[in-house]
Amino acid sequence: MNPFSSETRLRDMIRAIRACKTAAEERAVVRKECASIRAAVSDNDNDYRHRNLAKLMFIHMLGYPTHFGQMECLKLIAAPGFPEKRIGYLGLMLLLDERQEVLMLVTNSLKQDLNHTNQYIVGLALCALGNISSAEMARDLAPEVERLLQFRDPNVRKKAALCSIRIIKKVPDLAENFVNPVASLLKEKHHGVLLTAIQLCADLCTVSEEALEYFRKKCTEGLVKVLKDAVNSPYAPEYDISGIADPFLQIRLLRILRILGHGDADASDLMNDVLAQVATKTESNKNAGNAILYECVETIMSIEDSGGLRVLAINILGRFLSNRDNNIRYVALNMLMKAISVDGQAVQRHRATILECVKDSDASIRKRALELVYLLVNETNVKPLTKELIDYLEVSDQDFKGDLTARICSIVEKLSPQKIWYIDQMLKVLCEAGNYVKDEVWHGLIVVITNSTNLHGYTVRSLYRAIQTSGDQEAVVRVAVWCIGEYGDLLVNNIGMLDLEEPITVTENDAVDVIEAAIKRHTSDLTTRAMCLIALLKLSSRFPSCSQRIKDIVNQSKGSLLLELQQRSIEFDSILEKHQNLRSALVERMPVLDEATYSGRRAGSLPAVASTSQGNPLQIPNGVPKTMDAPLLDLLDLSADEPALQNSSGPNFLQDLLGGDILSSASQSGTTQPQKSGTDVLLDLLSTGSPPAQNGSSTADILSISQDNNKTSVDALNSLSSPMVTSVQSTPASSIMDLLDTFGPSPTVPKDNDPAYPPLVAFESSSLSLIFNFSKQPGSPQITQIEATFTNKSSDIYTDFIFQAAVPKFLQLHLEPASSNTLPGSGNGSITQKLRVTNNQHGKKSLVMRIRISYKLNNKDMLEEGQISNFPRDL
């Protein structure tokens, strides 16, 4: 016999499929089988239809598409015989689902079958309806189902009840129709009907509030009585499972009592007795008994409090927890999580057991126990609990480590009693599982470190030890490098030793070694290396003897392919070479980072603040007295990473220098620089000893690469600014533009600094006018800022406009590049250029200056010269 004809019996096909050795063979067999089935379908073969459908179901279970068999199901359902209908309905339920439109065709057959005389066929139809009816079908056939709820045969009744559940879910409006029939069903004796009726009742209660009220009033007592009967009933062989009479029914009853009693004191009262009875009388050496007890405990926890019952429940849970069976323990842990909200004290008593569960070999139990521990921890028990958890961290599996680390970190953060303890614990966690730790965690650690000033020495020494042992954890390296850079002098000189510390000798070279190792390691990523560079810069100031060595290390990164590193190393190198005087001020100790804001930011409340500081910086009111931390806050807002922390060295320096009270918008502008420390370094370079208004001009420098007039430090600036310009991001650039706009020709730059020198018309010719605007900083009377504005009086455009000035020996002149070198005609625009004049004989002699202006007019070179001696006396 050809094994692949449609006469094949199901078992032969199965045998053939099982005989296949490879997946390809199996696919071939299935394909042949499907082909023959399809042929039979199109032939409309009656005899073997049910056999084909059975084969189709098997094939469907293996995962092959079988939609060509759907019409077959319909034909089978329409057949008169019971076996055919059976297979047809089965196929319907397996091969179709409620979304298929073919389902609508079945509605008529279903209706007929629901009215059939044979109760089994009615049962079939109800089954199919209950499993896959769609909303329209439900609506159509609801009246039939309602009628069937009172059918003579209990099997049909029970199926009708379950079918109604689906109808209610699909069409909630029809819920009211079912409320009354259910009330009578609840008085049934047949367990099956009772089971399904209770389920229907439960679903009605969830769907509609009035149903809940109705059942609460009318049926609670009845249900309690049923439960009592079930618990006390004698041996019934039908429903007995391992000695307990119908545990499923009992569990359902407990569940419905839970729904009815939740939030309602009267109903809860009625239940107390029976719940106590169930809790005490049920045997717990069998799984069925435990299942009932579990449900009972859950019900007790949900209904209104009645003292004694709760104690009973927690005792049961305690027993579960010490059971050797893992299933029971799992269930107990689950329940305890809910019990915590009810009675935290009782759960605390089981703390030791729960801790044991965290270390269990079973993954599910571990997970539950960890969540429970997290809920349990409070100020009193945080130390021992954390110690346990960290000990376990060392031996836990990889996939569990991530979870565990996150939990430990949040516990430590929330509840650490002292800073030193916090730092210790975090260090341990980082050493064990630093790679799993998120960025915010070690940022938070750094914030706390800066805040605990008396612990700086201790921290840096601990970190030094830690990096020797756990140098492979990225987070440890980062925090250690940052701290060594910041507090290197404390490390080397053993400053701030606490009693419990052992002395440790670290030379300056050792410290630099550590950082060099970090930079050279392959596994260090960009952030770590960048942090190393800035730490090296800080160390070069704190350890002057190692300067040369540090310079060498920094130089090695100059050729790095990563832009960030290259940029940093070039800039730092230039600081090291040319700006020795700046260095110490630049890398002074950082101020305390504001914890409150930091945690506020981490809580996500910061986006508003961040946006204002990224937008126009001048929106921050000038007159409001702010604390020193304000610019730092703004900085921190900008970036979540530590480059922000380094940036703050810039304006910090400013604050130090200028007495900390000046809140000119310029220092705000410093904070809105992009997250490249290089920019701030630039600003710092330019702002040595000069009013912060200079910041505006320096940003002008960055943006307008024009000719260099003076071969002084501006050279270094320009060479640095070329790589800078390409990397300036657009948002900060716009904020710089904002600065420019405001800092433009008007002398309104910090009003409090303007000593009211009137603008001076320095030079006037037939074609050109030059106006000087003066400003001085109160702290440095010798230095004058001059803003020169050139206006074109003719109607021609001047190109290649160059302004030069010379001063006598007792004056120093510093010229910034001009805003442009094209002067439009007829006063349509102007060129501005800033000058800085330092008068060493301030007060004795006033300023004089010779100027020379050269430009091209219609491609003809022009030159104008003059002398300005009408400076105000006091400049």
């Binding site: 499993n131 119908d246 070999s361």
Partner: protein, 143 residues
């Protein structure tokens, strides 16, 4: 609600019976089965029978070469589901007599009938073996 799906899978990971009470495409089903089976097969005897997978729990038990897996909502009583699995096995045992994996394979439709009598739309309908097997025995007699 309640039960989401019932699977019977052998130790090599081949599905022997699959009944879903929620809609999933064929692809989704295969991936789901693969993931769950891998998780359950990797566990040993001492570990508990409950596995958490995505938004629901899997309750499983191994009988000889066959794993019975039931996917339930998070609020369901796990111990009761374990009892249910046992009830299912016992019912099949009573009908087939010393049921084994091959019985289920070759009489797949009967296994489905039994399951349908017991669970409908994700809720347990009938827990008495006599009541469950009555229609099936009737059908066997007529055919």
């Amino acid at each position: 609600m309640g039960i989401r799906f019932i699977l019977m899978v052998n130790k090599q990971g081949q599905t022997r019976l699959a009944q879903y009470f929620e809609y999933l495409t064929l692809e989704e089903r295969r991936t789901l089965e693969g993931e769950i089976v891998r998780k359950c097969l990797a566990r040993n005897e001492q570990q508990c029978s409950f596995v958490e997978h995505r938004t629901y729990k899997i309750v499983y038990r191994r009988y000889a070469s066959l794993f019975f897996l039931v996917g339930v909502d998070n609020e369901e009583n796990e111990l009761a589901i374990l009892e249910f699995i046992h009830l299912l096995v016992e019912t099949m045992d009573r009908h087939f007599g010393n049921v084994c994996e091959l019985d289920i394979m070759f009489h797949l439709e009967k296994a489905h009938f039994m399951l349908e009598e017991m669970v409908m739309n994700g809720c347990i309908v009938e827990t008495s073996k006599a009541n469950i097997l009555a229609p099936i025995q009737l059908m066997d007699k007529t055919s």
